[in-house]
Symmetry: C2
Subunit: 517 residues, 2 copies
Amino acid sequence: MQVLASYVCGAWFEGKGNAHVLVNPATEEPLAQASTEGLDHAAALSFARERGGPPLRALTFAERGDLLRAMSRVIHTNRDGLLDLAMKNGGGTRSDAKFDVDGASGTLAYYADLGKELGPRKLLLDGETVQLSRGPRFVGQHVLLPRRGVAVHINAFNFPGWGLGEKVACAVLAGMPVVVKPATSTAFVAFRIAELIVEAKILPEGAFSIITGPAGTLVEHLQGEDVLSFTGGGSTAATLRAIAPVVRDSVRVNVEADSLNSAILGADAEPGSDTYDAFLRDVTRDITQKTGQKCTAIRRVFAPRAVAPQVLEDLGARLSEFVVGDPSAERVTMGPLATAQQLRDVRAGIERLAAESKLVVGDGPLEPLGVPRGKGYFVLPTLFAQTDAARAKAVHEHEVFGPVASVLSYDAAADVVAAVRRGGGGLVASIYSDDRRAIGDIALGIASAHGRVVVVSAKIADQMPGPGTVLPQSIHGGPGRAGGGEELGGVRGLSFYSQRSALQGDRAILEAVCEKG
Amino acid sequence: MQVLASYVCGAWFEGKGNAHVLVNPATEEPLAQASTEGLDHAAALSFARERGGPPLRALTFAERGDLLRAMSRVIHTNRDGLLDLAMKNGGGTRSDAKFDVDGASGTLAYYADLGKELGPRKLLLDGETVQLSRGPRFVGQHVLLPRRGVAVHINAFNFPGWGLGEKVACAVLAGMPVVVKPATSTAFVAFRIAELIVEAKILPEGAFSIITGPAGTLVEHLQGEDVLSFTGGGSTAATLRAIAPVVRDSVRVNVEADSLNSAILGADAEPGSDTYDAFLRDVTRDITQKTGQKCTAIRRVFAPRAVAPQVLEDLGARLSEFVVGDPSAERVTMGPLATAQQLRDVRAGIERLAAESKLVVGDGPLEPLGVPRGKGYFVLPTLFAQTDAARAKAVHEHEVFGPVASVLSYDAAADVVAAVRRGGGGLVASIYSDDRRAIGDIALGIASAHGRVVVVSAKIADQMPGPGTVLPQSIHGGPGRAGGGEELGGVRGLSFYSQRSALQGDRAILEAVCEKG
């Protein structure tokens, strides 16, 4: 069986024993194995810091951008093979696989362009020079410089490609070496991307490492100038926030965790209107794309009480059209969940929602296409109806990470704001409306509880990729339950990997210093 | 004895029993007492969130700025009384007291002006609108909105006035209600400021609370949209970072902790030059001002090896001129440490430094002026010499929070960069030089380890307040040992109290939403 090695300390490493087997979640066939037994995590981090950091910091933003462009290209050149792996190991359709793989190359390309734009310098100016005394000479200038540590990225199982690409893009452009730790169960795509990057000798030695297999003691060896970026479940996030390097040494942590994302149908968006159709399209896509395993997927669908029955009927009709099965079979439009554990969690989540809501779609017979009987981690697209958003509890608190959503009825804009906020902080909420007053009330009411608020209106509905798509120009993250973190957002994405410092002194001298940096 | 009550839930609260006695650290005479026995911390936070939040958020930045201006004025109007309290309870000279009290009113006034500048809106635009698709209509706009929680401020004993003012200025301007918890031992000034603010009815009910006395279970009741800002020792910081609301609910924490701040004398700055004189002035001031109890005070003085003996002689001569005693005595130029615990800690720290360095100044007889024999928490200005910066350990790791500094010899610019960085992250470092090349090398070498780097050169030396002074225009904080936090920095200071959200949608609709906000 293929072994997915780790790349640390400038060499490929294969653990001895205790191997984890990666499977095809549609058929449960073994695909590869990975082990980190015997891997020296402390040495891996030191090597990245000491060997990878200096050459990266010596490059300008434009030069670092060139590295990202080369990474983007090597992914794109090998797209077909990566899509195949993504489908096999991730369980998604070809379209799902593109979402992950093209997301990786696209985000890297975006940050390559940003590097070009930032140009031939190594230091980022933050704001204007500010005069600090009566005379004009004594001034302050904030700058951003790369942190002299290593960036550890612990990525989620659902986006092995994009998760690697978007985090590496920001870290490398900011000038920090990275150690990527993909989720073991779906690490094949990340491993293959790493292999391509390493074979092509794109990055300076030490600037890129990958640990394929269990993380072991990795995070315990973090030090003061390192950073840790985690995407995954809230309980793991809580564990990581409490490790000694974070608590004691101010190691920076970015968390992107659970989120009960909302889609709100405006009272003005009548069935049949373009806005209503965009709403149906986006909700349907979010429930089924990647079998609902997107951190940004819509979980709560808010509809005006009078329209809610129609929404349930329309969504139900669309969801019933999906063909569940092995994505390698041509007619299949939704694949399995990624792992056996995910299936257990999703089933438990559905039971929890069923205890307080009405199941509308999803209780039919489950006979996945092209799959040996009894195999695979399948679940049907599932839709619940909840008529009492104010009293419901699980729907606001428990993220079911699969093709599952609930339609909640609401009466007034103020009620929907309160109900949406009961999610305790989320990644994204979308509003489907053309009524500017209502949009303003709702958007301003919910924005402080979300990292992103998407307003879908008739005139631009066909230009928008849907709220579930994370664009590198806008931040990705959210407060509270969503982890309190922030990634991407153009140049904002570099902040986490940079140290802001306020330079104070003679205007001419500071200008010379900044020019040199 | 005067009771320092807490102001919570819109009323003054006096704890029953278990009172802590505040003393004059020069004479050990009791001044007042404070107790929080029976205080309902959960209720205090709820009241602030629910009663204080909405009216603050309903105000524009300009209107919130007006509140800050009123706070600044009420402090300035009552300046003499506050200075008197600051001297009595804090142990500082009148000049030290001004540094704290005028720092409070000055920072509030600065943010009042910023509020005026931000004008009649409630929402802060973050960057420009960015086009997100080929067509021009679909755009993204980042905005900052107030978090809908309460800001808890746990302040350090050394700046009861400024610490309150600078944090409240940013929180209130951003639109968050505050609960201020000053260090109990020196809480008199903070209590009096609170009394003035409450009596003048400046802020909406619930927008300002103060807890005078032990914090009890306060932080355990924090919730997802709340924030916690802590200034103090690293070990308390570590405890606060590990509390459940932070680890589990993503409550934001800002920490400003320990720092081994450095002053670096450039190789070009010859004794007798203006730059050298500025260096002597700043180092002397930082060792003695507030009896060395400034988080930004210079602890490590780096001098070229050849000049180090002269530096020791010059600093020694200046430090020996200080008259230590009760600041109410006219000739006294340096008062006691603030508490008996501080005295114990400083003495232990001096012993730790003495084990690896040479004591140059500070071993004379200690007979504080105007103080009953045996009373008061006094220590002499103390200076160490360390000729081996690379091998020394305690001097880079242990912050002695008193009138204590070490002169370290260095050979080349690269060595001083490495030695300075051994502090593990600091608040501020200053460079005294007129050699642009050397300044560039050192500043860029150390900036990523410091929140602020001050370049003092001949032409502007007389315009600068010294590196120990925190100006609201520049950020205050630092990585690693310094806690990894960030305060102030003009409008940057509002970020901690705000949630960034990316709005996406039709350009015209988003403009209308932002206009409304």
